[in-house]
């Protein structure tokens, strides 16, 4: 590992974090439970990370979670923003990329895969 390179990455990222007060604007959570993985969640997670990296979305955090109790709709992807959480189901690689572009970048819900849109207190 080249620590000097990591230090420079940190400096650049922290400078951008200061501009947005240290908060990730959006958190994307991919369901990586057994049924999610059987339905293709690994590929979905990979596609989301790839799209976030290609578009250099530094204010987006990508994480994973276990079973969510909605096996029939797996793979599931949640998009958390201030004030709302959108849960998408039956997500494949192409849909995952659409969620990043349409929802995360442009703020438009991907209606044809929406399972639930929940308001949350900010």
């Amino acid at each position: 590992m080249k620590l000097e390179e990591l230090r420079k990455i940190r400096e650049r990222a922290e400078a951008e974090m200061r501009l947005r007060a240290g908060q990730a604007r959006v958190k994307i959570v991919v369901g990586m439970g057994t049924s999610g993985i059987a339905a293709g969640a690994r590929q979905v997670l990979r596609a989301i990370l790839d799209e976030v990296a290609q578009r250099n979305l530094r204010d987006v955090l990508v994480t994973q979670t276990g079973e969510k109790g909605l096996s029939a709709k797996e793979p599931l992807v949640e998009v958390h923003e201030p004030g709302r959480v959108a849960i998408y189901g039956d997500v494949d690689e192409a849909t995952a990329r659409r969620i990043v572009v349409e929802h995360v970048i442009h703020g438009r819900i991907v209606e044809d895969h929406l399972v639930e849109l929940r308001e949350v207190p900010t």
């Binding site: 080249k2 940190r10 974090m17 976030v52």
Partner: protein, 182 residues
């Protein structure tokens, strides 16, 4: 069903995450005629009865699930090709799974995309990973605790951090000659 070896490793890592591990150590090594896969975790571990049945394709510890094929497939792959499979575990003490697979066997599953399969799991998981790739002349190590210390508040999924990790792992795989197969 043939899974590439990268998927087998991912299965073991996901088992460790579900067992509540805080640290997962993955070692992939060319040792003589064998390719060794070793995954150790500090998760919940398994009691003797669970352990005895861990390679049974119709046994799983996952609530609500009736099959648990991950370990069974790996055991079958290793043993059918003349390699070996072993698992050590105890409640509260974590689990170690190790498989040795003959590298030059014509039916060895392809390595698959180790970087593309493992990196998303590692970068998005809240637990720590120690990853070692090695052969007789080269050892490459990635420890997320060191990475996170160097990166501070910057997540491993940051585009630039992720690109750095992909490049570093890709270079290591190239040096080892473990390019994507299959």
């Amino acid at each position: 069903m043939v899974e590439d070896l990268a998927f087998h490793v991912a299965d073991l890592v996901e088992n460790a995450l579900r067992a509540g591990a805080k640290l997962v150590a993955v070692e992939l090594a060319r040792e003589g005629e064998f390719f060794r896969i070793r995954v150790e975790d500090d998760g919940a571990g398994m009691a003797e009865e669970q352990l005895r049945r861990a390679g049974d394709p119709f046994f799983t510890t996952k609530p609500g699930r009736r099959i648990g094929l991950g370990l069974a497939f790996l055991r079958q792959t290793a043993e059918e090709l003349g390699g070996s499979f072993r698992i050590h575990s105890a409640p509260g003490k974590g689990t170690v799974v190790e498989a040795k697979i003959p590298w030059d066997h014509p039916d060895r599953p392809p390595l698959g995309d180790l970087c593309g399969t493992l990196l998303p799991l590692i970068a998005t998981s809240p637990v720590e990973f120690r990853l070692v790739f090695r052969d007789h002349r080269y050892t490459w190590t990635l420890d997320t605790r060191e990475l996170k210390k160097a990166l501070g508040p910057v997540p491993l999924t940051d585009p630039e951090a992720l690109s750095f990790l992909q490049r570093a792992m890709g270079e290591a795989l190239a040096v080892l000659g473990w390019k994507e197969e299959g």
